[in-house]
Amino acid sequence: MSAPAKPADLVTVNIDGKDIAVPKGTNVIEAARLLNVDVPHYCYHPKLSIVGNCRMCLIEMGMPAVDPATKAPVMDPATGKQKINWIPRPQIGCGTNVSPGLHVKTTSPMVKDAREGVMEFLLINHPLDCPICDQAGECKLQEQSTGYGRGYSRFIEQKNVKPKRTQLGPRVTLDDERCILCSRCIRFSKEVAKDDVLGFIDRGSYSTLTCYPGKQLANNYSLNTVDICPVGALTSTDFRFKMRVWFLKQTNSIDTESSVGANTVVWSREGAIYRITPRRNDEVNDTWIADSGRELFKAVKASDRLTAIKVNGNESSLEIAVNAALHFCKDGGVAVVGSGRSSVEEQFLTRKLAESLKASAHLVSRVAKGDGLLVSADRNPNVRGALVTGLISALPSQQLGGLAAEVDAGKIKTIISVGEDLAEAGLTPAQLAKISVIYLGTHANATSAAAKVVIPTLTMFEKSGSLVNQQFRLQKFAKAVPGPQGATDDLVVLAQLANIAAADLASVWKLLAAEVPALATTTHPSIPEIGLLLDATPYAALPFVEGETLHYKPAAKASAA
């Protein structure tokens, strides 16, 4: 549904008396959603195949009557309109695709009866442990019970007993009693994760979700099954019993583990992050993210977090630290090492800093094997941001070999590192000891230990900004939690070092609009939630490392081959 469909591809249907034109192939649930009509469902998921086994989306449907012999429309004398032949039994909305003239009723007594019947059967064996269930508050069964449940049970026999607390894998715990057998997790594992380990065993009310004997749900996408589980059967072992979801504040964010830039929601309460879940973006990550991206928030409360500004090992203030840093830079021979993990705004200020110090700008690349789905080969989330903002003009390498040679030759006397570990990027301890290192970063490492000036900065959960992903899609993320005491916003530090009066997003974006032609008409608030696609043609010749992932095909490689 990205490009507007041509009128020829549109089909007009009538839902609850309202006409709407929808693309061919849309099912009744999606068509109704366009009219803000909710058709309750459990097993249907827009990004998975349709099985139609929960029977919750039952609707009443009919087609305009025509005379069998003449094919002439049969008119209803009472209304003066064409008569509708209603099918006497309800049909499932998920498995019914629209056809011209289709009439649908989603609120008729028959539909209501059907939904109440389905709910009663689903609740027969469902345990009443909502008070301890982690899904409570975001549970479809709870929601539909409010709408279609009878409030008491007519079932006097003993409820089914099934395994509770099964470890399906390292990150997923299964409570089989809560399972309503929708099979979303099975279809996800098979169709999206391509790791077909889940299935049902036994029949009827004894049906039980289980893992294939000897296997585990251990792939890097296993926690998506927890997200799509409409009830509390699949739970995240990490988030289990930590906090009720209704207390958590949701902040839109971006997964920074690779250049895919999967959209996420960060769930936090009172400055503590509890979990990260995917946010739907049909152009980037559909409704999935990798498990590895959900653990990134643990760095926020890590014990090796830097929380004190230090000059030559002594605690200091920001003003003194900035002056000390500039003192180290005043004799020239300065290099600035930017980061592909910084936001677009920070990379732009890093460029301004390099310009003001007449320093060379470098970037470190991180390359690992991509998984072809939502973790790409380039593990920096924002290398393209550095290209767009003009921090670098060629793709970075993994080691700062040239910089190391210049250090050995005595040409470089000071390095300002914006969050990059220089030791990891190939500088030896001897080289680091020879020069003055100024380190802006979040966590302690070899570089912060060797640095003359250390200024703690914020993790991406503690600040707002934007990133450019592998599709050259500019996407924004927002501050979820406040930073720790002692850490300063990267923009403030960079602006003070570069001696420019643009230490917040709005003023940096004014500068960006003035100096970067690709962003001339953009401001941070105006970036849409699904991202803004930038023009990639100026960089088409660069040999980007990414292979094919979901919604991304490497164009440059195809032309080079």
């Binding site: 301890i132 007993v161 036994d202 004894y206 009720r244």
Partner: protein, 179 residues
């Protein structure tokens, strides 16, 4: 505005002597010498608490000594002055009530914030929090007024409640339904 002049009656002779008034006052005083005493000698004597009284909120055990609270945090959610703060926790597998899976790690009620409204008791799906007949809270510091989990159970004690739904659940789990 019309002015109404009120005629003030002059005092009679008896009134001017004050004696009838003094006698009347002494009669009332004398009556209270012999009337039953209404004053309680607090704190030696304590008032009788009527049923349904909303005193200090407390946590209770079930008759088998299991913590009834499963830390669903509904009371924390409903509490109008935000006096309740719960840290949920998982029950370790070795525990006798491991089948309940969840109980509070810490449960704090700030009695300086509590308004004794009873919504926590009303909302509790496990009947674990009760406003009982404890009405007096004393302390020297603000921290003294924060009742922690241990204090809440000390105040609450055991609820003689015959439901024992979690014991029934455990029995069903152990019985199973083989097919």
């Amino acid at each position: 505005m019309a002015v109404i002049t009120v005629e003030r009656k002059p005092l009679t002779f008896a009134e001017r002597t004050y004696l009838p008034q003094i006698a009347g006052g002494l009669k009332t005083t004398l009556k209270h010498f012999f009337a039953p005493n209404d004053t309680l000698e607090y704190p030696e004597q304590r008032p009788a608490i009527p049923p349904g009284y909303r005193g200090v909120p407390t946590l209770v055990y079930d008759p088998h000594g299991r913590e009834k609270c499963v830390s669903c945090q509904l009371c924390e959610f409903v509490c109008p002055p935000k006096a309740i703060r719960i840290t949920p926790g998982e029950i370790p597998a070795a525990d006798a009530s491991a089948h309940v899976e969840k109980r509070p790690q810490e449960f704090e009620i700030d009695m300086l914030r509590c308004i004794y409204c009873g919504l926590c008791q009303e909302v509790c799906p496990e009947e674990a929090i009760w406003l009982q007949n404890q009405y007096s809270t004393t302390g020297y510091t603000r921290a003294d007024f924060v009742n922690n989990k241990q204090k809440l159970y000390e105040l609450g004690g055991t609820l003689p409640d015959p439901h024992l739904k979690w014991d029934k659940k455990l029995a069903a789990e152990q019985h199973g339904n083989a097919h």
